[in-house]
Amino acid sequence: MSVGEALRLAWQGLLANRLRSGLTMLGILIGVGAVILLVAVGNGASIKVQNQVQALGSNIVYIYPSSTKAGGVSQGFGSGSTLTQADVNALNDRSQAPDIVTAIPVAQASGNMTWQNQNWFAQTTGSTQDFAQVRAYDIKTGAMFTAADVTSSSKVVVVGQTVVDNLFQGQDPVGQQIKINRVTFTVVGTFASKGSAALGNQDNVAVVPITTAWNYLTGGRGKNISQIVIQATSADTVKAAQTEATNILLNLHQVADPTNPDFTSQSQQDILNATSQITGTLTVLLGAIAAISLVVGGIGIMNIMLVTVTERTREIGIRKAIGARRRDILLQFLIESMVLSGLGGLLGIAAGWLIALQIGSIKIAGGTLPQPVVSIPSVLLAFGVSVGIGLFFGIYPANRAAGLHPIEALRYE
């Protein structure tokens, strides 16, 4: 018997018991639908986090000072102050570091800012005029401060969207005077919103020339650089740029033991890898939970196929009497079982997909849920697995049918 014939028979068999077939299919439908949906939700979350990491800037490598110890007690990550302006200058030397576009120093100062009777708290960052480009901030209004501002230590500031919203109450901030830690600054520009929140609000920022930060905001800590941000020429050269930067700094700092330098470098890719490892684990976990319901659905299929075989014992006897071989009967019932689960799988894919499309529009506190992303491999895998479940759970009933003795089967009432 050909597979086409078996498919026709399977279809007839399923139509003969519509309700029963439908209910059995429902078991697989729910299982496959759950797998598709939950994997899509996991993917969606993963993609959202990755986008946020990308939004930190493009092709970025961070250099942090290593932790220092005071009296044998570690002061924590980044507590050292080993990075200097000389390091930044060396990293900006194209002859030594051809894969680096630019390196910028960053000094952090926290500052309470006030404007008229409003006040707001934001991280104030001291850096150079290249900050916007390196960290991928777009200027919305006004302009970034200039190299001249850095040289002359001008009291100018560029603020992020969250600061604009909370401090200026709808007024145009450019040209306004604000106070940061009681020092008066002139707002020269604003950043366009990056619109993401999972890795900290990147819109709650204020950027001033680093020299200004040193002079007015960081107190007595001197020309402290809390991190150097390096932009590589392209995504392909990030690794090379990281290596060049490491070598330059090892040299400059006269580090004797390269395995224990006084700074740490971390590329954007390192952060991406770390986060995608977490979200990947989440996705697998969600998929595994859903897969359990698939197994339950498979057992339902086996149950119904056993009932079907018993019901059709006499038919099996007739088929054998007129010349059906063992494998003809086997094929007939296996295909029936696979059609049952495969069809349930297709419907489950459709259901999971439809629900996934709706989830992104569900409102929760702080916006919407991450839009689930249905991956084509997960769809193909789910369909393959559902057909495979039909095959696996169909083997026992089909084998039982095929093994029936024709005379006993014919006598069955």
């Binding site: 018997m1 050909s2 014939e5 007839q12 003969a16 006499r314 038919e315 006897g317 007739i318 088929r319 054998k320 009497a321 007129i322 010349g323 059906a324 071989r325 063992r326 494998r327 003809d328 024709p406 005379i407 014919l410």
Partner: protein, 219 residues
């Protein structure tokens, strides 16, 4: 079932030659069903041998037996044994499906149905057919692979098929029907009681040679 072993057939020695029309008679429990199962290769003897066209069927595996049932033997069961929820046409073409013989399968099945006068009922299911019509579907199914032996538990159409040279084994307990056969074997308690040759009675309608008339004769 139970503990007691029942020997359905004991010491049967029977030879059926090609082209014969043989009626096997016996009361219920005489072993005639078992004999039919053996002749039809549905079962193999626990002792002794059965040679079908000089082949010992006991030495054949299940698939070979299935092939013999498919191609060499046609069954017409008393209860017809049609497959429910399958059309008359599908029932008739089924042996061809298992034979893997797809050449003009539908045409041949339709022709076979036409031969028994049921061409217009091809797409009806057994439950939508009368007993007589179901019987004719069963006959069409038995004949579609042009088997060497026709094993029948019912009478219709058999005389005419025998005249075409087909070996026919008729299993019955009605002496009246057996008078159409040229040889009658009577069984009792698993043994052959008698084996007589006789002049078969002319069936009504045998004088009408056309197929259409034959079809009418069985309705």
């Amino acid at each position: 079932m139970g503990e007691i072993e029942v020997q359905a057939l004991r010491g049967i020695d029977l030879q059926i030659v090609e082209g014969e029309f043989i009626a096997i008679m016996g009361a219920s429990g005489s072993g005639k069903s078992t004999l039919m199962n053996l002749i039809g290769c549905l079962d193999t003897p626990s002792e002794g041998t059965y040679l079908l066209e000089d082949v010992d069927v006991a030495e054949l595996d299940d698939d070979s037996l299935a092939m013999i049932r498919n191609l060499r033997i046609g069954f017409v069961f008393q209860s017809f044994n049609l497959i429910p929820r399958s059309t008359a046409l599908h029932n008739v073409e089924m042996p061809l499906i298992y034979a893997g013989d797809s050449a003009q399968r539908l045409e041949r099945a339709l022709a076979a149905l036409d031969l028994v006068g049921l061409a217009d009922r091809a797409h009806h299911q057994p439950s939508e057919l009368s007993g007589g019509q179901q019987q004719r579907v069963a006959i069409a199914r038995a004949l579609i692979t042009e088997p060497a032996i026709l094993l029948a538990e019912i009478m219709r159409l058999l005389t005419r098929l025998n005249e075409q040279g087909r070996t026919i084994v008729l299993i019955t307990h009605e002496g009246d029907i057996a008078t159409f056969a040229s040889r009658v074997v009577r069984l009792r308690d698993g043994l052959i009681l008698s084996d007589d040759r006789q002049v078969p009675r002319e069936p009504a309608g045998a004088e009408a040679p056309s197929e259409q008339a034959a079809a009418e004769a069985v309705s």
